[in-house]
C-alpha cells in the first residue's frame, strides 16, 4: 500500500513528536530520532499492510522503538565502554517460550485493570512518559501519580501470582 509520506507526516506528525518527546525529552535528540523515523516510514510505507493494524498503531510503534533504540545508544555512548555479552542476549528456544507465556499472562493481567489504570500504565511503561509529564497531563501531582502506579503494580503482582521474576 502506497501512502503519501508528506500526507502521513502532516496528519500524524504531532503524534509522532509527542511519542518521541516522552522518551527523549531533549529537543535535539528528539529531532534526530524524528529524522530516523521519517526514513523508516519512507522505507516501510510502501509495503505496509493495513490489515496488520491501523496506520496510527504502526507509526507509534515505529516511533517508540526508534526512540528507545536512540536512548540506548546515547546511554552506551555516555557510559564507559561496557560491552554487553551480545552472544547471550538472544534467548534460547526455552527462554523464548517462557517469555511468550509471561507475555500472555501479563496481557491477561492487564485486562483486569480498569481502562483508566491500563492507559496510565501504558503511558508509563510503553510510552515511557515521565511522572512529571503524566502528572501535568492528568491534572494531578507527581505524588498522586506515583501512588496510583504503585497500586497498579501491586495489583499486577497479585494477578501474576507474586513476584514476576
Amino acid at each position: 500500500m502506497a501512502c503519501d509520506l508528506e500526507e502521513i507526516l502532516s496528519q500524524y506528525g504531532g503524534m509522532m513528536d509527542y511519542v518521541i518527546r516522552g522518551i527523549l525529552p531533549q529537543r535535539q535528540e528528539a529531532e534526530e530520532c524524528l529524522a530516523e523515523v521519517r526514513k523508516k516510514l519512507a522505507e516501510g510505507l510502501s509495503s505496509y499492510d493495513l490489515e496488520r493494524g491501523s496506520l496510527a498503531t504502526w507509526i507509534t510503534a515505529v516511533c517508540r522503538h526508534a526512540a528507545i533504540d536512540h536512548r540506548r545508544s546515547l546511554a552506551r555512548r555516555r557510559e564507559a565502554a561496557m560491552e554487553e555479552d551480545v552472544a547471550d542476549s538472544t534467548p534460547g528456544p526455552e527462554e523464548a517460550l517462557l517469555q511468550k507465556e509471561r507475555a500472555l499472562r501479563l496481557r491477561q493481567a492487564l485486562m483486569t485493570l480498569s481502562e483508566r489504570d491500563r492507559r496510565l500504565f501504558y503511558r508509563k511503561y510503553y510510552y515511557l512518559q515521565s511522572t512529571a509529564q503524566l502528572a501535568a497531563e492528568l491534572g494531578t501531582t507527581e505524588r498522586a501519580v506515583e501512588g496510583k502506579l504503585y497500586r497498579i503494580r501491586k495489583r499486577l503482582q497479585r494477578e501474576l501470582g507474586g513476584e514476576m521474576w
Binding site: 493494524g53 498503531t57 510503553y126 502528572a135 497531563e137 491534572g139
Partner: protein, 510 residues
C-alpha cells in the same frame, strides 16, 4: 526480591511485546490534553443540564463547576483564552459553592425573592457560562491548529448557538411559567429545550472528535494540588458551611426582644379586669400594653371550647418535637358590643429545633370582616422577660372580581355577607435562641353578631422540626404561594381549632 528499577525495566521490556492496541487502547487516545478537555466538556454538560430529582439540581452544577475548574487549570498556560477560562471557572466555582450553601438559608431565599437580585444573579451566572464557552472556543481554535495553521472544524460555534437557545427558553419559562398559548406552548417549549440540549451535547462530542490527532504541542501546566485535593476542599467547605447554614441560617430574622416594662395604670386596671372575668393569669401576662388598653372596660371573657376530660378533640395540648404546646382561644366582650378574639399559644416544654414557626388563624366568616389585628411573642431569657411584636400578615380578603367562577359560587354566602372573603391573619417567626417559656397570640376584632350565637373558626400552628434543604419559606407557604408543606410538622387541626364560642350577651345594667 526484585528491585523497583529492575521491575520497571522488565515491565518496559515485556510491554514492548504487548502493543496498546492488543489490549483495546488506541494510540490516538494518548494525548496531552485528553483529560483536561474531557473534564471541561463534562463540566459544561453538568452546569447546563438541570435534573430535578434527588437533589441533583443542586449537586450536579457544583460537580460541573469543579470539573471545569480542574480542566481549565491544566490548560491555563497554553494560551490567554484558556487562562481567562481558568479565572472564570474559579469565580464560577466560588459562586456555585456559595449558592449551594446559601440555598439552605433564609437570607438567600429572601434575596432571590427580590426580582432585581434574582435576575441580576441569573444573568451573571449565564454570562459566566457563556463567556467560558466563548473563550473555550477561542482556546481550542488556537491550540489545536494543524501544521498549516488551520483550526479544527468549528462544531462548538453551533453548540454555543444551541446553548443560547436553551438559555433563552429557560428564561422564557421563568418569566412566563403559564404561557398564553396554553398547553401546546408549555410542553412544546420543554421539548424544544430538551432537543436543543441534546444537540448541544452531540456538538460538544463532535468537537472533541474533531480534535483527534491535533494538539500534541499543547502545554499542560503542572499543579501543586491534586484533583482529589480540590475535590476534598470543595466538598469539605460545602459541608462545613452547609451545617451552620441549615441550623442557624434557616432561622428567621426577628426583632430583638425588649425587656418588659411596667404597665401603665390604665393597662394594669384592664388586666385586673380580665383576670376577674376569668382570663388565666398566664395568658394575661402575654398581652401587650396596647391590647390591654383595647380591652379597657371589657364586660365578658370566655374560652371558646373549654377542655373537657373526655373530649379529646378539644385537648388544648399537643406534643411537637420533644416539646409541648398549649393553645386556647378567648373571646373578650367589649363595651361597644364588639368582641376581641385572642388566639394564644404557649410552649410548656420548649421544642428541640428552633427554626421556623407559623401561627395562622381562620376567623369566623359569618360575623364580620376581622379587623384591628395584633400579636406579640413573650419569652424568658435568663431571669428577664422579653417581648417582641409579631408581624401579622394577611391572606384571603379577595373580592368577587378577584376570584374565579368556581370560587365565587363556593364562597357565595361569605361574599354576600362580608363583601369579600374573610381575612386570615398569620405570623411566621423563630423562637428566640436560649429563650424559655415562650408564648404569644394573634388578636383581632369582630362585631355585629347576635348575642348567644355560635362562632367557629380554625387555628393552625406549624413548627419546623428538622433542617431542610433548600430553604422553604413558611411565610410563602402560608400565603398560598407554594412550598414544601410536608417539611413542617403541625398540631393536628382539631387540637387547636375553636368551636362553639358563644357571642357574649351584654351584661344587664343595674
Amino acid at each position: 526480591m526484585v528491585s523497583r528499577q529492575a521491575w520497571d525495566e522488565k515491565m518496559e521490556e515485556q510491554l514492548a511485546g504487548i502493543p496498546p492496541e492488543t489490549v483495546g487502547e488506541e494510540p490516538e487516545g494518548f494525548t496531552p490534553w485528553e483529560t483536561a478537555v474531557s473534564r471541561i466538556l463534562w463540566g459544561l454538560i453538568l452546569v447546563t443540564f438541570r435534573l430535578e430529582v434527588l437533589y441533583l439540581q443542586y449537586l450536579l452544577p457544583l460537580v460541573g463547576a469543579v470539573e471545569l475548574y480542574l480542566g481549565f487549570r491544566s490548560l491555563r498556560r497554553e494560551n490567554r483564552w484558556f487562562f481567562s477560562c481558568w479565572i472564570l471557572s474559579g469565580v464560577s466555582l466560588i459562586c456555585r459553592l456559595l449558592g449551594t450553601v446559601g440555598q439552605g438559608t433564609w437570607a438567600w431565599s429572601h434575596l432571590m425573592g427580590i426580582p432585581s437580585v434574582f435576575w441580576g444573579l441569573s444573568a451573571l451566572s449565564l454570562a459566566l457560562d457563556f463567556l467560558q464557552l466563548l473563550f473555550l472556543r477561542g482556546g481550542l481554535r488556537r491550540a489545536f491548529q494543524d501544521r498549516d495553521g488551520h483550526p479544527p472544524r468549528d462544531w462548538l460555534a453551533y453548540g454555543i448557538a444551541a446553548w443560547l437557545g436553551v438559555a433563552a427558553l429557560a428564561a422564557w419559562g421563568t418569566l412566563e411559567s403559564a404561557p398564553a398559548g396554553g398547553r401546546w406552548i408549555y410542553y412544546g417549549r420543554f421539548f424544544l429545550a430538551l432537543g436543543l440540549f441534546i444537540v448541544f451535547f452531540l456538538l460538544l462530542r463532535r468537537q472533541m472528535q474533531a480534535l483527534s490527532l491535533r494538539g500534541y504541542q499543547v502545554a499542560v501546566s503542572p499543579v501543586r494540588l491534586s484533583s482529589r485535593g480540590v475535590w476534598a476542599i470543595t466538598l469539605g467547605l460545602t459541608a462545613a458551611l452547609l451545617l451552620p447554614a441549615l441550623l442557624w441560617g434557616a432561622r428567621l430574622p426577628s426583632p430583638a426582644g425588649e425587656p418588659e416594662v411596667s404597665l401603665s395604670a390604665a393597662a394594669a386596671e384592664s388586666r385586673e379586669n380580665l383576670l376577674v372575668l376569668g382570663l388565666p393569669e398566664e395568658l394575661a401576662d402575654l398581652l401587650s400594653e396596647e391590647d390591654l388598653l383595647r380591652c379597657a372596660g371589657a364586660e365578658t371573657a370566655a374560652q371558646t371550647n373549654d377542655p373537657q376530660p373526655n373530649h379529646q378533640a378539644f385537648s388544648p395540648r399537643a406534643a411537637l418535637d420533644d416539646g409541648e404546646l398549649e393553645g386556647s382561644t378567648w373571646m373578650v366582650g367589649l363595651p361597644d358590643g364588639s368582641v376581641r378574639f385572642f388566639h394564644f399559644f404557649r410552649w410548656l416544654e420548649m421544642p428541640r429545633m428552633r427554626l421556623q414557626e407559623g401561627f395562622q388563624v381562620e376567623p369566623d366568616n359569618a360575623v364580620s370582616l376581622a379587623e384591628d389585628f395584633s400579636g406579640q411573642l413573650r419569652w424568658r431569657q435568663g431571669e428577664e422577660w422579653l417581648t417582641a411584636p409579631l408581624e401579622i400578615r394577611l391572606t384571603g380578603g379577595q373580592t368577587g372580581e378577584e376570584l374565579g367562577e368556581f370560587d365565587r359560587w363556593w364562597y357565595e354566602s361569605e361574599l354576600a355577607h362580608l363583601g369579600r372573603l374573610q381575612w386570615d391573619p398569620y405570623a411566621v417567626f423563630s423562637l428566640p435562641a436560649g429563650g424559655e417559656e415562650a408564648g404569644g397570640y394573634i388578636a383581632y376584632t369582630l362585631q355585629g353578631s347576635r348575642p348567644g350565637s355560635t362562632v367557629n373558626g380554625g387555628v393552625h400552628y406549624y413548627h419546623q422540626s428538622r433542617p431542610m434543604y433548600p430553604f422553604a419559606d413558611m411565610g410563602q407557604w402560608l400565603a398560598g404561594k407554594g412550598g414544601m408543606a410536608d417539611m413542617f410538622s403541625s398540631v393536628p387541626y382539631d387540637r387547636l381549632m375553636f368551636q362553639n364560642g358563644v357571642w357574649p350577651r351584654q351584661p344587664e345594667t343595674a
